[in-house]
Symmetry: C3
Subunit: 273 residues, 3 copies
């Protein structure tokens, strides 16, 4: 099933409008090209509605948030929603400032989001309207581990139900829920946290998968999470003795470029609760 | 002849002021360093005139266009023009929104542009004042292929003549014209379209070549197009079984770094109409 | 001694708030992760104080300076200073425009800077309130070489004393001073100047080192300069016949990821004046 999701991306080549931060924009664009989708990145309020209209899906990422861009994010989200396009929100850094948290909550309410992808701290911040993140990485107390899996799974499930979204909280274990079922995903490698923006990359990948599989958003988002995690494992295997996080960054995107539906099908490690 | 153009870049080390988007700025800066030029990237209206004055050429790219930056682009272009510096315009995404198209047309008229480099859709949009692009990639209907080569060559030639620029429309075949002659260039590799920003990279490369060869703008722009296409071919040959678009991106810039005038001279594949 | 500085970064994993330019932001984030620190990049005046408060150190870089961001830089610097966090200023391009020079001087006076890291032209511009840089690279006349070492060392020492900072002027030879002693550092490789943003990377590395070694700012800044220079040498050794500046860029960050305290201790080449 998950392999089919990947193959739909390659077959449909969805055009994804991505309003994102300037730290990881290049990697996100190359990641979209790697998976078989196409990126467009526009962020001015004078054009985001036009641009979204010629796209198939929208990804909004609030890293390096600029208050001058919030209107553009809202306009793009509302237009995408009106056109029936999936909208993926990445609430980067929610919890690290009041401004960031409030903007994330506003976008969640008013930008037609159908998928939310963040780390455990960010999702918990949006769920509880509180919490503090340690920058863009998950707070230690908020890491999803086998110990607190049940509690976090329930938090994510409830958050998804209340916001009527597919919610993905990623960490050592990744949780994806549509408010009813919860995918617990065990793919991934710790090395992924040594590269900036693997979370941002996952969010645009989820946007591509969900856009190419609009009738099965939960499975599509879960497939994207499995796919990037699996690629993180494959990238690590490729590392030589002189390689560090810069080479790993390239290997990760390369692995997404090379990943087949069959490999995803057999390499995905998850259970459904 | 084309090899000499490359060698002039390495000998003169032109300083290129590049006002560009945040998605591909890093690659463009490294591409300029690879070819032997030097990058400066300033975009604030309070300083672009000062900065342009200490440079040798200017490249304006409207990817991730921000209306707050348009004044800076105009000021920089006018100052560069007054100083006799070549100004290269990359109308990224012209046709994908009214704002983008109108800004591109304004810059074309008022920013002293001597070279315009875009894909077929973008150039057609500027030529006809209409057309729609599929994001930043050329619309399928607008791809330059051997089938529609004559028609597109005439469109580019006329556009160059009317705007008094050297115009380059790139695709499967690349067309470069000064309004009289047209270079039809056959270098390049489809893999180049799987990396974000190869068009942006070509535009800054053209800026470096034209700046180092100001008396022969047509040949210089054509040499830049041949050079990047040839490097795209060489980069593809270097790919191993695990490599994808991220490694290819590096190999492309590496190839520009390594390319010699002799290799360009012998590897360029073009005809002049 | 220098090796211990590196090990403190890996042990303490300082969270560095980096307000920086969009050209090299991704490399700076990955460089911070490579050395063992963690990056946060926020730049909106509505949140920089909140964000800085959860961090351990601050790095301000004025590349691609935008006048709308200056208030955020000042607010972040003042808050960081009030919290006792080290503030590192990278005056990119000081001297290339009046706006850039004046902003750098304002930040130097009012943003609580404890470390300033620039090339020789930039430091001289701030020291003399004059001078012209050739873009972001050091002016030829301002390169630090064995010939003008004494004169430049004295300039840097005096600048550090007058501004009560640790000042680092980098070039063929690097000079780091706290106003009394001067470290003359001989690590590095010319290839580093063929990659965009190695100066920016050095500034965030210095921020990580100084933050993890707050009682020994001079030694920490010198250790960062030695470390990146040594990594530049190691990265060059790794280059194959087809590699250019793009691969070198990756090798440099990889080398920072792999560098041990022991290697830094034995590989650092410097004298103290």
């Amino acid at each position: 099933m998950l392999g089919e999701m990947l193959e739909n991306v390659r077959a449909k080549r969805p055009l994804i409008h991505s309003i994102t931060n300037y730290v990881t924009a290049n990697d996100c664009a190359n990641l979209l090209l790697a998976c078989g989708a196409s990126p467009v990145m526009a962020c001015d309020e004078n054009e985001v509605e036009d641009v979204t209209s010629i796209c198939d899906g929208l990804s909004i990422n609030i890293g390096t948030l600029d208050h001058r861009k919030v209107t553009a994010m809202l306009k793009a989200g509302q237009r995408a929603h009106a056109l029936g396009h999936p909208v993926v929100l990445d609430p980067v850094g929610a919890g690290s400032s009041r401004f960031r948290t409030e903007t994330a909550l506003t976008l969640l309410r008013e930008a037609g989001c159908s998928v939310v992808r963040g780390n455990a701290s960010e999702i918990r911040t949006l769920a509880l309207g509180a919490g503090a993140t340690k920058g863009v990485d998950a707070d230690l107390a908020d890491r999803i581990t086998s110990e607190n899996l049940d509690r976090m799974a329930e938090l994510v499930r409830r958050f998804a139900a209340e916001t009527k979204t597919v919610a993905a909280a990623t960490g050592a274990v990744d949780l994806v829920s549509d408010g009813e079922r919860v995918f617990c995903i065990y793919n991934g490698h710790p090395m992924m946290s040594r590269v900036t923006g693997t979370g941002c990359q996952l969010s645009v990948l989820a946007a591509a998968y969900v856009t190419a599989n609009p009738e099965r958003k939960l499975e599509a988002a879960a497939a994207a999470v499995c796919a990037l995690g699996l690629c993180g494992e494959k990238a690590y295997e490729r590392m030589g003795p002189a390689d560090g996080n810069a080479s790993y960054r390239n290997y990760l995107i390369d692995a997404v470029y090379r990943l087949t539906g069959e490999e995803l099908e057999s390499g995905a490690r998850y259970e459904i609760r």
